[in-house]
């Protein structure tokens, strides 16, 4: 099933072999089980719980310089998958390879953008980025570090806000800092966990366009988790649709053929846009309905 899901592509585009040589990141038969509580204290207090299989046997290959979105019903283990790629959460079975070597823990080769920004409130914008740069490039001279910080601030358009603290910024500006911090360490892969989920609709649209602009400049490999179909279509080269949890799997992988640079106002004029959108909507609708029904029972 997992191999089929990798090879299957709704648009009929040729999919890579399972052992695709140029894959930068390859997720192989990964399963995530959250262990239940069965220790002596839990037994005494009658609070034992069973193991929970969040993700079952997922395989996925991601080529360099692709923007991949993962979309699925809520609670399907999208974030769990991303955390495993980040190395924040261990893999129960299978393995995740980055450039052919397995991921054993977190590291600066992967940059992470958090849904709730996760900026340090006591650091200014500049200090937040400096913390990342100094941690990863501890051998650089102060001059080089300052230049790297300035570059990132310019890239995300935060000039003038360097000395502000996060609580003085809007949500959109905070997430710009989050993105700048993740890019400042020059990671091979950028991981984004619902980066626009906490923003209002207008800011979200604006920031999506900004991410599209930044991506055109750097073309990093990106894995983004999202709930928004439009967002996925605007930004991604491939869209991974996951089934509902528990034991979530990859249901289908869509290739998004729109030319770049993309414009949010004209993207829906592409002939394939509405078919792709309809397909994603029906998938998400079906999965979400199943989730809701299982909750009622």
């Amino acid at each position: 099933m997992s191999i089929a899901s990798v090879n299957y592509s709704s648009n009929g585009a040729v999919s890579p072999e399972p052992e695709f040589p140029s894959a930068q990141l390859s997720i192989r038969n990964v399963t995530k089980v959250f262990a239940g509580k069965r220790d002596i204290f839990s037994k005494l207090s009658g609070k034992t719980s069973r193991d929970f299989v969040a993700i079952e046997d997922i395989s996925l290959d991601i080529e360099p310089n692709t923007f991949v979105s993962i979309i699925g019903p809520s609670g399907c283990g999208k974030s769990t998958l991303l955390n495993m790629v980040a190395g924040l959460s261990p893999v129960s079975q299978g393995e995740i390879l980055l450039n052919g070597s397995p991921i054993t823990g977190p590291g600066p080769d992967r940059g992470m953008v958090f849904q709730n920004y996760a900026l340090m409130p006591w650091m200014t914008v500049e200090e937040n980025i400096r913390f990342a740069v100094e941690t990863v490039f501890s051998k650089l001279s102060p001059k080089q570090i300052n230049r790297a910080i300035k570059e990132q601030i310019q890239l995300v358009g935060l000039e003038g806000a360097e000395k502000k603290h996060p609580h003085e910024l809007s949500g959109g500006m905070r997430q710009r800092v989050g993105i700048a911090r993740a890019l400042a360490i020059n990671p091979q892969i950028l991981l984004m966990d619902e980066p626009f989920g906490a923003l209002d609709a207008l800011t979200r649209g604006f920031l999506q366009s900004e991410v599209e602009r930044i991506w055109e400049q750097q073309r990093k490999t990106v894995i983004m988790i999202t709930h928004s179909i439009e967002e996925a279509l605007l930004l991604s080269d491939r869209i991974v649709m996951m089934t509902r949890g528990p034991a979530a799997r990859v249901d289908e992988i869509l290739e998004v053929p729109f030319p770049r640079p993309r414009d949010r106002n004209t993207i829906d004029q592409h002939p394939a846009y509405h078919d792709l959108k309809a397909e994603m909507e029906s998938h998400l609708f079906r999965e979400t309905r199943a989730v809701e029904e299982s909750r009622i029972r």
């Binding site: 980040a86 992967r110 958090f114 409130p121 006591w122």
Partner: protein, 279 residues
């Protein structure tokens, strides 16, 4: 014109009769009125001998307050010492005991908070010792140190250590896990994470603990000094032996005022380290 007229009156009415009469001005007015009423009640009641026998009048107490605050520093031996000296003696004891307590509690709290096992293992000690009345330590202190000065400092230390310790350990143990994830994904070393992330993140909790500890130190010193020989607490005890109530009231007022100032300093410090977070 006829239409705009009523709207104008209505806005004026909604804003209140006068713009300078805002909430703060009203609160100040109420404060002054209540204070005047209280002093009048006290003055008249004391003159009519409504209270306990020998209760001083408000005017007599205020005179004493004026005298003691205009003559703070004189020294006619231990039983006749200016209130300024007594205040400095008390503050010095508090400062030493509190500083020692904080110097132990903050690092220890960080160590306990970092390890969940240590947190669970040491929590019973703290919970057991925290509710013990400071005065219960007094005989032990006197026995160990055989010295009233050292005993005073010891009592301050032992009673002001717990709030800082508990708050520091709690703050460190409950750092927002996202900050730690950021640190992990950057590959920051453990030491760097502790100094750059965990301690600053826990700082609002640490300062809250320090504030509570300071309040407790100031409570405890007065009680302890009654048995020790100098300081504000002894001043009260001495005036009790002289059976001179106005000076006791003066001392109560000064103790309250100094406590208020100390608490406000820490309140300002709390705001300074909050950065938009709620403590």
């Amino acid at each position: 014109m006829a239409v705009s007229q009523p709207t104008l009156t209505k806005t004026k009415g909604a804003n209140g009769s006068a713009p300078w009469l805002n909430e703060n001005v009203k609160a100040l007015g109420l404060f002054i009125i209540s204070l005047v009423l209280f002093l009048l009640f006290w003055e008249i009641g004391a003159n009519l001998k409504l209270f306990a026998k020998g209760m001083p009048t408000a005017s007599k107490t205020l005179q004493e307050l004026w005298w003691w605050s205009t003559h703070p520093f004189f020294d006619n031996g231990p039983n006749d010492l200016g209130i300024g000296w007594n205040l400095l003696i008390s503050l010095r004891r508090v400062a030493i005991g509190y500083f020692l307590a904080s110097a132990i509690a903050v690092p220890l709290g960080i160590l306990i908070g970092i390890s969940p096992i240590a947190y669970k293992a040491f929590n019973p000690y703290v919970q057991l010792l925290k509710p013990v009345s400071p005065l219960a330590w007094l005989p032990l202190g006197l026995y160990i140190f055989r010295d009233s000065e050292k005993t005073g400092i010891f009592i301050i230390l032992i009673s002001s250590i717990w709030p800082t310790l508990i708050n520091t350990a709690f703050g460190v143990a409950n750092v927002n896990p996202e900050y730690l994830d950021v640190s992990k994904t950057l590959g920051a070393s453990r030491i760097r994470t502790i100094f750059k992330v965990i301690i600053p993140a826990a700082l609002p909790n640490i300062v809250s603990g320090l504030r509570i500890s300071m309040g407790i130190s100031w409570l405890v010193i007065v009680a302890a000094e009654m048995l020790l020989g100098t300081g504000l607490g002894y001043f009260i005890w001495n005036e009790w032996n002289n059976l001179y109530i106005p000076n006791i009231l003066v001392a109560i007022f000064i103790i309250g005022l100094v406590g208020l100032i100390l608490d406000n300093i820490f309140g300002a410090l709390e705001k300074f380290v909050a950065f938009g977070r709620k403590a």
